[in-house]
């Protein structure tokens, strides 16, 4: 058995593994299993000029944008669905030209993250053909060449060598510097186990140069290795394991807790203006130097009310509006 340990605090993981200007990919899906505890730490440490590979983005990425951490986003969707249909700090940043952005479709982001995890240079797809996702480049080839991390071309259209006459859109796979994941279980050697839908998490964990995994529960290596068939990823792909119960709050975590509707409603209101957003961040991020402080601020009763009910997999009758 490996005798090393990759366990560290969010503070240590973020400060040692994330640099200004890095390309980040973030796990989960919109309002499900987003690694909010790690994202709050990035805001706390005032990382700058991040390039975000968005995928199914949620309010966590909106917070990064609002906090001034992001200079470039490759986007296909960003919402706290059911609460904020278009994330508001993102929207204002785009409308005011404060951020560099380009659009793909979610399927294409999905498949290029997967292609990156398969070591492919590009993935040849039919998607986007005909649409303005192809006709309009949010970031021009000239600007891409100036960007230290973006591929020079958004895509290349080529005839399929195996189906003459058929066009394909060849989309380059991104070079992700750091992936942030929240898993239910992880162990000191970096092995982690996501339960329920995996979304694109394993792909970004494998593809990224560095991977930080926060977890609901830290367990022994031996415990996870009793049932390797349930594990998601070898520790060979993981650089830091950060214990963080409720680390995905306010989003959902399969087998553990439902989303916190009240928080999403509060954030929807707070994110309407930069001033209200800044107060919200001051209160929930800066005034809570650690994840434990954050949990205490929310309070135990509020958190425990979110526990899922076995057999349902969510919290039936949860107040959601």
């Amino acid at each position: 058995m490996n005798t090393d340990t990759k366990v560290m605090s969010a503070e240590a993981a973020v400060s040692s593994l994330i640099s200004d200007g890095d390309c980040l990919a973030i796990g989960g899906f919109v309002t499900n299993r987003r690694p909010y505890a790690l994202v709050r730490e990035i805001i706390r440490q005032k990382k700058r000029n991040l390039y975000i590979e968005g995928g199914p983005s949620g309010g966590d990425i909106d917070m990064l944008i609002g906090a001034g951490c992001v200079s470039t986003i490759i986007v296909s969707y960003i919402a706290n669905s059911g609460y904020t249909q278009v994330c508001r700090r993102f929207r204002e940043a785009v409308e005011q030209g404060a951020i560099q952005y380009d659009d793909y479709s979610l399927d294409v982001q999905t498949i290029v993250y997967h292609g990156a995890a398969l070591g492919l240079s590009y993935v040849p797809v039919k998607n986007m053909l005909g649409s303005d996702l192809v006709n309009l480049w949010g970031i021009s080839e000239a600007d891409r060449k100036k960007h230290p991390k973006l591929p020079d071309k958004k895509f290349v259209i080529q005839e399929d060598p195996f189906n003459p006459g058929s066009q394909l859109c060849l989309v380059p796979t991104p070079k992700i510097d750091v992936a942030l994941i929240h898993a239910q279980l992880a162990s000191p050697d970096g092995t982690f186990r996501i339960s329920g839908a995996q979304f694109q998490d394993l792909d970004i964990a494998i593809a990224a140069n560095k991977t930080i995994v926060s977890c609901e529960e830290l367990v022994s290596d031996e415990e996870l290795r009793r049932q390797p068939e349930l594990n998601s990823c070898t520790g060979l792909c993981v650089d830091a394991v950060v214990p963080a119960s409720y680390g995905a709050h306010p989003s959902q975590c399969f087998n553990y807790y439902d989303y916190d509707s009240r928080f999403f409603i509060d954030y929807d209101n707070a994110s309407r203006t930069q001033e209200a957003f800044d107060r919200f961040i001051a209160e929930y991020v800066d005034a809570c130097p650690t994840h434990a402080d954050y949990l205490n601020k929310l309070g135990a009763a509020r958190l425990l009310k979110l526990r899922i009910q076995p057999g349902y997999g969510y919290t039936p009758g949860l107040k959601r509006k």
Binding site: P56, Y77, S81, S105, L106, G130, Q252, Y314
Partner: protein, 253 residues
Amino acid sequence: MEYTKNQMMAVTLSRQIEDGKAYIVGTGLPLVGATLAKNTHAPNAHLIFETALFEGNPQEVPTSVSDLRINYQASVLWPQYRYFGFQSIYAKRGLIACGFLGGAQIDPYGNLNSTSIGDYFHPQTRFTGSGGANGIATYCDTIIIMKHEKRRFIEKVDYITSYGWGRGPGDRARVGLDPKRGPRAVVTELGLMRFGEDCRMYLAEYFPGVSPKQIQENTGFELDLSRAVEARPPEAEVLDILIHKVDPLRLMI
């Protein structure tokens, strides 16, 4: 019998669903309509979410396509890329009957904008972006749900997020897409539009209490009204199931 506009839309969506076939649904009205269909005439319809969650039977209305509520009695919770493959392969084989889409703007050929209003580079209003819509429009027949407003039904959309029929017959093949798939219907709070052989939208059904003229007045391009008939109102037992079983909390209807 009393019913709301949203209820009539849900019933209309439900009527588009055939038993035993597979559909890609999002949250909101499409899911409500599909769930209604499963509880009435199409118990064996298969609902697929762009999150790669398959065939769930949500007991509470989910707020997003990733909501844990969708997992209930699902068959698989696949990783995201499996949806990518399933969609393209099974649509090609004709095993996905259709996918549901929404948008901020639509043109007469079913090209849809869900990205931004105004210049893409300096938008007046920015939306979330494609999500899974572009993929559905690439591979599948689609049914589109819209608010029926003149500023939304326009001759040319500001940004084509999801390609429909282009500017007419032959255009899908020309850009590299399957010419046999494309937009099939548009459902609004006023009626049901379909697409003719010229690929242009025409009025197929106007809802009870709505006139074809009123629909034309709310449409920013000329709509062929000659084939329009009045839609049947919701059947009492269907409405009962919709209200009391499908969405008792009235989150969507």
